[in-house]
């Protein structure tokens, strides 16, 4: 490229005429990370919210309770908005797989195609039945309408399963042989059902239900704190909080399973998570701290803790980062902190769940209202915090799995650097995406807030009768 010609050209041309730089790699990583982090929240709501909505609708029909029925309608409207932004932000991800990482897709696209094809089918079913569920509310008898919601829940969970299978493959690449850099002997089923699939998918699906539950409960906790103590808000608080409280203990057990899985299959990732530099026994569990030259510094150490957790014995050998050269280490401080944050929030949510069950049990024994008990105000405040906290746990857990895989895009097989699009000007895409997503975030929050607001439910033409539901 002629330097003088470039100098006089308008700036977009200059940007595009430059060769791809290190900055472009960072831009690609930032764009993928950002759009994934954005989508994952909406996707979790897309998986969890339909289940909550169906639960409210079912209870509403069974008890012939207007508050519950209204709740179901409200949640369904939020679901419609969230599903739309989830669908489009998910589409962008499938584009970005090729736009940003053609090196990965050109070589391994055929290996991980199957779970995406399955996900496509599941998503199709979800979209079809969501259309029916949202728009045919008044065209179908109540019970049949309830039935049209069930495929949404099943297909939503299934698509989470399939997509996470593809991500699990990046951690445990199976189902192919590399011969002279060419992919041969592909077994797509073995690729999809790799060893990382079971722990990772279960962990993610439970997380989706937790995030949807605690976020929804948080909205109504805030309303209750503001004094709106009617049946409608109480139900909006109790239903999702109960679901979240039931899921939380399972998630702790599953999280333990994932860590144990890493010890066996991806020890370098676990070593980064726990900041274990040297392989050995009697390894302590370190909370917090900063990665130094030869170990975590300033952290709180529990002697033999990690060895005990991994193998139930203090002399369990834990593999350290020293198994691989330093150039192949994930960013230790980031991964470690993200992990600690996730675990801390997980136990916080578990504790909230226990509080709910305890309070409920006491209320049953001694009568009275759950929310009139002493300390219930504190519970409401904590649940209001639990919503955003669950998102923090989600994002930090996601960071653990993604940052912990660095510098690989396919663990041990292909580095992120080798996968990136060599075309110049990827930075432009990043800026465009940031601007569009900022606008979309603002609009989503604004519209959802309006939907949540007290009395005025905007009546879309297909929901003319909504006006007839008073806020109870």
């Amino acid at each position: 490229m002629n330097a003088i010609a470039v100098g006089s050209a308008p700036w977009p041309v200059v940007l595009l005429a430059r060769a791809a730089t290190e900055g472009d790699l960072s831009a690609a990583r930032a764009q993928m990370g950002f759009s994934l982090a954005w989508h994952i929240v909406v996707a979790c709501l897309g998986v969890g919210l339909p289940a909550l909505t169906l639960l409210a609708e079912w209870l509403g029909i069974r008890r012939n309770d207007a508050a519950l029925k209204l709740l179901a309608r409200r949640w369904a409207r939020a679901m419609g908005v969230l599903f739309a932004v989830g669908a489009v932000s998910g589409t962008i991800l499938s584009f970005e797989m090729g736009l940003l990482w053609p090196g990965l897709m050109g070589r391994f696209g055929q290996v991980i195609g199957l779970p995406f094809a399955l996900e496509g089918i599941a998503f199709f079913i979800e979209a079809i039945f969501l259309g029916i569920y949202l728009y045919a509310w008044d065209r179908l008898p109540p019970r049949r309408h309830l039935l049209t919601g069930i495929p949404i829940v099943i297909a939503g969970t299934a698509s989470a399963f399939f997509v996470v299978c593809a991500n699990a493959w990046m951690n445990q690449p199976r189902g192919f042989t590399l011969r002279d850099g060419k992919v041969v002997h592909v077994d797509p089923w073995a690729a999809m059902l790799n060893p990382a699939s079971p722990p990772q998918t279960v962990h993610m699906i439970l997380a989706a239900f937790m995030v949807a539950s605690f976020l929804t409960a948080a909205v109504y906790a805030v309303a209750l704190l503001r004094g709106r103590r009617d049946a409608y808000h109480k139900a909006g608080f109790a239903i999702p909080f109960t679901v979240g409280a039931v899921v939380a203990p399972f998630q702790i057990v599953v999280g333990d399973w994932v860590a144990r899985f890493l010890a066996d299959y991806q020890p370098v990732k676990l070593a980064a998570i726990e900041g274990v530099y040297r392989t050995g026994s009697h390894i302590p569990l370190t909370i917090g701290g900063v990665a130094g030259q030869d170990g975590l510094k300033y952290g709180l150490e529990i002697p033999d803790g990690l060895s005990l957790l991994i193998g139930y014995r203090t002399d369990t050998v834990v593999k350290g980062l020293d198994q691989v050269p330093r150039s192949q280490w994930p960013p230790v401080t980031g991964v470690h902190w993200a992990f600690d944050l996730m675990v801390a929030v997980g136990f916080f949510l578990l504790a909230l769940g226990l509080w709910l069950f305890l309070a409920w049990w006491r209320t049953r024994r001694s009568g009275g209202e759950l929310l009139d008990r002493r300390g219930s105000r504190l519970l409401l405040v904590l649940v209001a915090l639990a919503g955003p906290a669950s998102v923090v746990a989600l994002e930090s857990g996601w960071s653990v799995t993604e940052l912990g895989r660095q510098p690989w895009i396919v663990w041990g097989v292909m580095s992120v650097r080798d996968a990136v699009n060599p075309a110049p000007g990827l930075m432009v895409g990043l800026w465009l995406v940031l601007v569009v997503y900022a606008a979309m975030t603002a609009a989503t929050v604004y519209v959802l807030r309006r939907l949540a607001r007290g009395t005025a439910i905007p009546a879309a033409p297909q929901e003319a009768d909504v006006r007839e539901y008073p806020v109870v």
Partner: protein, 342 residues
Amino acid sequence: MLADTALAVMWIGLTCYALFGGADFGAGVWDLLAGGARRGASQRRLIEHSIGPIWEANHVWLIFVVVLLWSGFSPVFAAVMSTLYLPLTLSALGIIARGAAFAFRKASTELWQRRLFGACFAVSSLVTPFFLGAVAGGVASGRVPAGLARGDVITSWLNPTSVLGGVLAVLACAHLAAVYLCADADREGDPELARVFARRAVASGLASGAVALAGIAVLHVDAPQLFHGLTHRALPLVLLSTVSGVVGLGLLIRRRHVAARGAAALAVAAILWAWGAAQYPAMLIGSLTVDRAASQPAVLSACLIVLACGAVLLIPSLWLLYGTFQRAHTAEAPSTHGRTAP
């Protein structure tokens, strides 16, 4: 054989995306041209009513095509996405803006919000098919070589064939939408609105025809290989498209709106298949053929089996979806269902 089957299935997906998803974009174009808030209200209501329940399902066809391309023909996917990343990023952003803004508008009540989101929805409905058409033009004129980002990142989509592809895509989407909306307006019992959209359908149909005619000259100069294919092997399909386009216009004028839907859809589908036939067996002209690009048989057969099983679930579901919303409102009794006195 397996590779050809996978390609054909992908092309069916692309056709469905053009016929269903394309019409949703076209509806957005008419939303843009509907006029001021008061004058355009009835048109916008019809558009919102018609595409609201189905656009998300229609949109999935695109994901279907993308996924099948990368699973079945990974090197083609990598080459197209890396070279044409600019128009594809722009169309991806258009897809975001269109879908999100449509959902936001539906959830808004105040005029300024409905205007803002509506404008966003409508403009991106115009822009997105243009860029997707430009991508098709870049591939069809042989500007995407195999390998990662080997083509020119600018001229691969800013060229005569791409512009032709983009304009034709927008016009075809608009035409399909107008034709579909005629019958929708009939069903809603609004013959005046049906006449409005019939006029627009005829106008956009004629415009598509004119652009396609001019396109012959463009392709002759700019994409000789495609031109040769279209005038030889794919000629019957080109003629089929022309004839059904003309028949469709005749049906519109005679107010046979439901039959016109079929004719318009056939005209668009035939052009897509003509493109495919013209360039077959090349997937990337000059560098990759179907057989060389295809994934291993194990992958292709797994995907095809899964899709066949999926079709067993999907076809009845789609039938239920379209059936639920294409039935006339008056046939039901919405006054009693789903309501319970509080």
